[in-house]
């Protein structure tokens, strides 16, 4: 298996561009099903390109010099210090060139994406709001219910580790953990946010496809950190509404047909907070 992978890698690095293989990588990231994930893929891809370019220059020059200037009889090194003004200017220009072609571009892309997408929180009545409280070692979710307010009796609480969102609708989460630091990571959306005790963090994302996707805890949180797995179901708007309605019914919330067989971790009896409008 492993050798096939290595071979695939060689093939990819030699042909790629436009094909299926990505940048200098032979394993693709999980399928992007988010509105803005492409922005992150793009900045990574640009960085791949410039890195490959500058790294190749260094390595090729190094190898060329090693061959051309190898020690042999009759060949003498030249006594050059490289401290002249000419050289100082040359090296500063090269440094600036790297800065302009690499750093400034990446920074421009990143700042633009943050402004247009990741830090540009959606507002309005159609935004889905979810409160998330990770704990050792499970995810708890809370929806506002009919009154649109959090932290009261009619909040909707799905079964542990289960989150549903509607497709093509912006989702804002506010997250604060019960015990230690966790990190809400949804690889298919390319985003994550830490959950730190004592503070409420926020993040938004929007799905472009329905389906089942995983939530991982990215921050070490104890011995079962590795199996702190959440199940994110992206529903069509109708299915989502049906699911919300099922939560309103009395009794134990229904289990998804996919998910883990783990016992519930024991949800704290009360949690939830009034939605923070200005964070």
């Amino acid at each position: 298996m492993s050798f096939q992978n290595t071979w695939r890698w060689f093939k990819c690095t030699t042909k790629k561009i436009g094909g299926k293989c990505w940048g200098i990588w032979f394993l693709d990231p999980p399928k992007d099903i988010s509105l803005d994930g492409y922005r992150i893929d793009n900045v990574i891809q640009y960085t791949d390109g410039v890195i490959l370019f500058y790294f190749s220059i260094v390595v090729l020059l190094m190898i060329y010099f090693l061959i051309r200037y190898r020690s042999r009889s009759g060949h003498k090194a030249e006594y050059i210090h490289g401290n002249s003004k000419k050289y100082v200017i040359f090296s500063l220009v090269m440094g600036m060139l790297v800065f302009l072609t690499v750093d400034v571009v990446i920074e421009g892309m990143a700042f633009k994406d943050l402004k247009e997408a990741f830090w540009n929180f959606p507002k309005g009545p159609n935004v889905v709001r979810v409160e998330v409280m990770p704990q050792q070692f499970a995810w708890n979710f809370r929806y506002a219910g009919a009154d649109g307010e959090f932290g009261n009796e009619d909040d909707l609480i799905p079964a542990q580790n289960q989150m549903h969102i509607p497709v093509n609708t912006p989702v804002v989460i506010q997250i604060a953990p019960y015990d230690v630091i966790h990190s809400f990571f949804i690889p298919n959306f390319r985003v994550k946010v830490d959950a730190t005790p004592g503070m409420i963090n926020t993040m938004w994302f929007q799905a472009t496809e329905t389906g089942n996707f995983e939530i991982a805890c990215a921050e070490l949180c104890g011995n079962s950190h590795y199996r702190m797995r959440g199940f994110l179901t992206v529903d069509s708007p109708a299915d989502y509404q049906k699911w919300l309605n099922s939560l309103e019914e009395e009794g134990e919330p229904e289990e998804d047909d996919w998910g883990d067989e783990d016992e519930d971790e024991g949800i704290p009896t009360y949690w939830g907070w009034a939605w923070k409008e200005s964070i």
């Binding site: 050798f3 960085t47 390595v59 790297v98 690889p187 950190h225």
Partner: protein, 571 residues
Amino acid sequence: MSNHEQSFMSKYIFSTDHKVIGKQFLWLGIFFLMFGGFMAMLIRWSLSHNMQPLPWWLLGDILYQNSPVGVGIIGPDAYNQLFTMHGTIMIFWAITPILTGAFGNFLIPLQIGTEDMAFPKLNMLSFWTMFLASIVLLASYLLPTGTAAGGWTSYPPLSTPVGGIPGYGQVYWTLALTLAGTATLMGAVNYITTIVRFRAPGMGYFKMPLSIWGLFLTSILNALFVPIIAAGLIVLLLDLVAGTQFLVAGQKATIPGGDPLLYQHIFWIFGHPEVYILILPGWGVVSDLLSVFSRKPAFGYKMTALSMCTITALSGLVWGHHMYTTGMSPLLGKAFMFLTLLISIPSSIFFLNWLGTLWKGAIKLEVPMLFALSVMWVFGLGGLTGLYNATITADIYLHDTYFVVGHFHYTMAASVLFGGFAGIYFWFPKMFGKRMNKKLGIIHFWMSFIPLNIVFFNMMVMGYAGHHRRIFDPSVFEFLKPVLQLNDLMTTFAFLLGIGQLIFAINFVFSIIKGKKAEKNPWGASTLEWTVDYPIPHGNFESIPTVYNGPHEYSNPKVKNRDWISQSEKI
């Protein structure tokens, strides 16, 4: 100081001679390098052979006999302890003692031309504090619940009593690290004073070898930032043993006012400079060695030294790039990203100068040179991949994944280790009066360079595929299924890498016992340490030398018959 009679104890154990202390640090560092390296093997085994008993050659008959998941099997608790201690040991007990402790002690007085350190007794105290720290750290392995398991970063509240990790491992960890920091601080004060006050006549700052520049700047960073982490560790210790809750907040806190995020700031204000603390001596050594083995002055020496200074200054201003996902204010995030990216300017100048040194040289591929050249490769990859982590958007995806693990293994592990090996192979003749076996050295090089790249590069591949960090069993996640097959490949090459290091250990020990006797200046180097005969007496020089030349006087046409001239020889 003359060569007076000394007892065995004061000559080899409680010695105040910087050369002896340097060797003591070297032995300590190599011991922990093997120890931490073995832990890496166990981690790799667990990742590719999850929940399978360890084979005999990984000491399966001795280790984990009382494991709750089965005899000789690494369970999730043990796994967390392994990567926690692997990181801690490699950074603070292997790399720091070798690069700063061993090279710093051995090289500084010899290369700047003085008798000993400014404070020889403080120097001895520094080593023995480190020794005590090592005992505390190793003692935590004897605890029934095992060692610390909160990661080498030990973020609270996980690392405090509310985190749910049983036992006193974390207390031992915190104590040991505080002691190690104290030892480092003592060394730093000593190095700075020695370099500022005791340079031989004629040895201006810009006549110092670049190794000394690296060690000097490292010491400045240590002196500035180790006290900060020490403060953080003491606060953590109070939370652990005195019932305070400085670093606990949220629903588990019973006292208001604590803040876990405070620790992260403290940790990374120290933690980012720590990267440069580790690598600056390596850069210095590599810059010097490229010059020696190209038989040509270090290209753009002043620019290299100034680039190192610039990076040192910037390193204190960029810690926030470790915290983009903590909910940091946008303005702060942008500032940290900009400052981080600035580092690429001095870094580019660095690489240009390294290439410039090779250009028109007469390059000899001795073993130290192979390792020095490989630093260009691994640090090139490590430094460039830092760009992804500096970029806020890319980091939102890549943070806390194996990508970060691969990146810092390239910068901290590979670059520093290869720089360290280059230095060990280079100065071995002056340290022990013997030559190391060249053939074994070349085998060691290739057995390090190839497997290391396969292992570390694939860490980044895995991270890009979404593999998050510190996962005992990645097969839990559906989206990681395509990544799993890589684990076998990586484990195989990690074992090869481990075997390669055994070759080094054998070469090292046998060369000390049976190696060929080394002549005074086997590499034809021009720095001052090569002007003294082995064994170098306590007090180093018969009379303090006067320095006339720069540190890289190779192929000077005014010198007849040979292609080097010592710093203390008049042309």
